[in-house]
């Protein structure tokens, strides 16, 4: 029996190549100045899902993202790598969502998808670095979760065994399906896009993206239904609107500061015992260690 896997993904500004104009004066991210990419750890999550698909016949992988219309780009990226389908959750009602409202919306969309065995998500997104959405989705769905996963060792008889990468080492844990697993960046990198899948899905679009397409293209979509990427609005999911968007977001940004890291004065130590003891004492005192 194949598994039904959902992968949560987010399109994020590429904060790894931040230039001067990366932040706006009001302290928010200037999304226009940064290329939009597939959140890196979500790609690690997708790879874990695809590996299970390779191993267990009949397994399907559905990619779910919430974002603006252009976030469909990462769904196509997922299809090019082997995902079976993608769902874009997009609506003005979701705008301004913090992690709580986001995980609420995602959990409602997952309920609409129906029965599933596994949800994979990246540990965190590089724009917010909160690592909250995955765990919150699990809570809202009332399912167990395993965080910081580096490798899925196996899925068998309704259970999953996972290797977790923690600060001080590695832990191997098991959980019962259905379960949500968040994946670390130290997990294997996602496979490259596949040429055949790229050629198959490159014309795939959501209904909003199709707004200005030619008649020829519409004919193509009718002929090849797999080119339709599902797009859900707030009306497509059952939810309490109060818990969405700004009204559903208790997070309030008080102030944003630009921090410039400065190199402190260097200190040269010899390898004598006394120097090392002194250093250890200092590190313990300023709580760098211990």
């Amino acid at each position: 029996m194949g598994l039904k896997i959902i992968v949560l993904a987010k399109q994020v500004p590429d904060t790894r190549n931040v230039g001067k104009d990366a932040m706006k004066a009001d302290g928010t991210v200037n999304r226009a100045a940064l290329p939009a990419i597939f959140n890196p750890e979500d790609l690690n999550a997708l790879e874990q899902a695809l590996r299970l698909k390779d191993q267990i016949p009949g397994t399907t992988v559905t990619l779910l993202t919430m974002g603006p219309v252009r976030a469909a780009e990462i769904l196509r990226e997922g299809l090019f790598r082997g995902a079976d389908d993608g769902i874009l959750l997009t609506d003005r009602a979701f705008a301004g969502s913090d992690t709580l409202a986001t995980s609420y919306a995602l959990s409602c969309a997952i309920r609409k998808i129906g029965k599933f065995d596994l949800i994979f998500a990246g540990r965190q997104a590089i724009d917010g670095d909160t690592a909250q959405v995955g765990p919150q989705v699990a809570e809202k769905l009332g399912i167990p979760q395993i965080t910081y996963a580096e490798d899925v060792l196996f899925v068998k008889d309704g259970a999953i065994r996972v290797k977790r990468r923690l600060e001080r080492g590695v832990e191997i844990v098991e959980g019962k399906l259905p379960i949500l697993v968040t994946v670390n960046g130290s997990a294997p990198a996602c496979r490259p896009r596949n040429a055949r899948l790229l050629m198959k899905y490159k014309h795939a679009t959501t209904i909003s993206e199709r707004a200005e397409k030619s008649e020829d293209y519409m004919a193509l979509i009718n002929e090849k239904p797999y080119l339709n990427i599902k797009e859900w609005s707030v009306n497509d999911i059952e939810c309490d609107r109060e818990q969405l968007g700004l009204s559903g977001s208790p997070t309030k940004v008080k102030k944003i500061e630009n921090i410039v890291f400065q190199v402190k004065e260097a200190k040269r130590l010899t390898d004598s015992d006394s120097d090392i003891n002194q250093l250890m004492k200092e590190l313990i005192e300023n709580h760098t260690i211990g």
Partner: protein, 568 residues
């Protein structure tokens, strides 16, 4: 997070050549597969978009995976374990990435699981891979051996082997033996047919076999007992899973160290005949070699690209006498000539690939239906041009590649001699390109008939008659003058009526023809995109002086020279 395709506009420019329209139309049989395969293109634009996007995948994998692995692959190399080859760990990672990306069997038909790409985008992928790691293209690029199976094997054999290639089985072509290198007629590996098991068996030794432990091999063997020449040789398909071959050693080479060059011992290795008996060398190896030669031309261009980029970066960064060394004429001249050679050899590579595309595809179509009269003529014309241009492309691109690698090291100065910079590996990798799949000297042997029969001249005259923008007229005049000098040189050599005299000057004459042809190709490139004018200027200055040097040699040469040069 680089991309070796998108960071190099010269590639896209070659991909978008006007002749692609015809190539795609033929290759896609007027898009008849669009409803049969979900990844088949709808129309010409769709096909071109697919090539572009797939090459982007190649470029990404090469920049992010293959190139960063190149140093460790060179260092580690393949290992021999119990008669089998184990690739360097980086090579294994590279191969896995390209397999996952579905980049095996790129040019094979869709019914076998291939991408049905023309040769042009396939060769472009080889060009890109070679820039990243020249040794790796020898493993990945041997997929073009499958073309020979596709061309000459039975349908049943194709169905058994080609889908495996598309899924990632690697290949080898087992031709060379200790006493049969350039002279393949001397091949001795014995093929015997056993009536009882209804099976061919191979016995003997092959040497210098690239990727000799590949999953599927094409083997040239002597099937006709008592024969001693090429007419007693047949081509066989060997499946690695059937055993019977042991890898006796992996050669320790100067360059392309990541590619396992094997000595193979065949002991009753079961194999099956490919095509007809006795045609092994005279027909199939010739086809195989032409494909492989184009592949080496692509490898040469890719290495040239890598050498040029390393040299350019270094020259910009390295400061001496208070400024970057790129500001000194001695350095910038070297760099611009490198770029001109790179662009010229790339232009020749893709022009040749386009010819091969049209004639090969028409050949395949001729097996499906009868060609029209026009198509038959088209096939003949392009086949002739492909045969003319292939040895030129291989010969000249590989020599330019070596020259560029040499200059790239020179620009690095003492640092270039150290193992610390990639240019040292590039220099070693470049060296083989003018040796294997036929040395430059053998490419000249293949090309000289094009000189003496006037075939190159005829093609040059056609180029000359092509319409170009008026502002490019000055460049054409230079090429016309070069052509006159070439004609005089050819006449002088041919009029001597002495074959050895022709052989003596053959390389000079072939290069003169090649330099003129590349000049016209760059002229037409400039006609299509004015940004190439600088390359064209530099190239013509270089090529004109090169041809003049050769013409001068011939002007003051007569048959008596043969005695003076003969070394005993």
């Amino acid at each position: 997070m680089g991309n070796f395709y998108t960071d190099n506009p010269d590639l896209k420019f070659q991909l978008q050549h006007p002749l692609m329209k015809r190539i795609v139309e033929l290759k896609e049989r007027n898009f008849t597969e669009k409803n049969k395969y979900d990844y088949a293109p709808q129309d010409f634009e769709d096909a071109m978009d697919s090539y572009d996007k797939v090459l982007e995948i190649v470029g990404e994998i090469c920049a992010d995976i293959v190139a960063p692995n190149a140093e460790s692959v060179d260092h580690e190399g393949p290992k021999l374990e119990n008669g089998r080859v184990k690739y360097a760990s980086g090579t294994q990672v590279n191969l896995e990435a390209l397999k996952q990306a579905g980049l095996m069997g790129m040019s094979l038909p869709r019914r076998f699981g291939g991408l049905n790409f023309p040769i042009v985008p396939y060769i472009m992928a080889a060009d890109i891979v070679s820039r990243a790691d020249a040794s790796f293209v020898n493993i990945w690029g041997l997929q073009d051996c499958a073309e020979t199976i596709n061309e000459f094997a039975t349908e049943e054999q194709k169905m058994r082997y080609l889908p495996r290639v598309c899924e990632g089985a690697t290949m080898a072509m087992d031709l060379t033996e200790p006493d049969a290198g350039s002279d393949l007629q001397a091949v001795m590996l014995k093929a015997t047919y056993d009536e009882k098991t209804n099976q061919w068996y191979l016995n003997g030794v092959k040497r210098f076999i690239t990727n000799g432990d590949g999953d599927i091999a094409l083997v040239l063997a002597r099937s006709e007992e008592g024969t001693t020449d090429g007419r007693g040789l047949s081509m066989f398909i060997y499946d690695r899973r059937n055993g019977g071959i042991t890898v006796r050693r992996i050669e320790n080479k100067m360059g392309i160290k990541g590619s396992p060059t094997c000595e193979l011992v065949f002991k009753n290795a079961p194999a099956e005949l490919c095509g007809q008996r006795r045609l092994g060398l005279i027909k199939y190896v010739m086809a195989l070699m032409n494909g492989a030669r184009l592949g080496i031309a692509a490898q040469s261009v890719g290495i040239s690209e890598a050498a040029y980029r390393e040299a350019l970066n270094y020259a910009r960064e390295r400061q001496q006498f208070g400024k970057p060394i790129i500001e000194f004429p001695a350095i910038y001249e070297m760099l611009s000539v490198m770029k001109a050679k790179l662009d010229a050899s790339r232009a020749l590579l893709y022009e040749t690939a386009r010819y091969v595309d049209i004639y090969k595809t028409l050949t395949h179509i001729s097996e499906e239906r009868e060609l029209t009269k026009e198509e038959k003529e088209e096939l003949k014309k392009y086949q002739k041009w492909a045969d003319l241009f292939t040895p030129l492309a291989k010969g000249i691109a590989s020599e330019f590649c070596n020259q560029n690698a040499y200059d790239a090291v020179q620009i690095h100065g003492g640092s270039g001699f150290m193992k610390d910079y990639p240019v040292e590996r590039i220099y070693r990798d470049a060296r083989i390109t003018s040796i294997y799949e036929g040395t430059t000297q053998l490419q000249v042997v293949a090309a000289i008939r094009g000189v003496t029969t006037g075939a190159y001249l005829a093609r040059i005259k056609e180029f000359e008659a092509t319409e170009i923008k008026p502002e490019l007229e000055t460049y054409r005049r230079i090429l016309v003058a070069m052509t006159q000098a070439y004609e005089e040189a050819v006449k002088k050599v041919v009029d001597a009526n002495n074959n050895e005299f022709v052989d003596f000057h053959a390389r000079r004459l072939v290069e003169m023809a090649g330099f003129i042809i590349m000049g016209y190709l760059l002229l037409m490139d400039t006609n299509r995109d004015h940004n190439y004018w600088k390359t064209l200027e530099v190239y013509l200055k270089f090529a004109r002086s090169q041809n003049e040097q050769r013409a001068e040699f011939i002007r003051y040469s007569n048959v008596n020279d043969l005695g003076k040069f003969k070394v005993v």
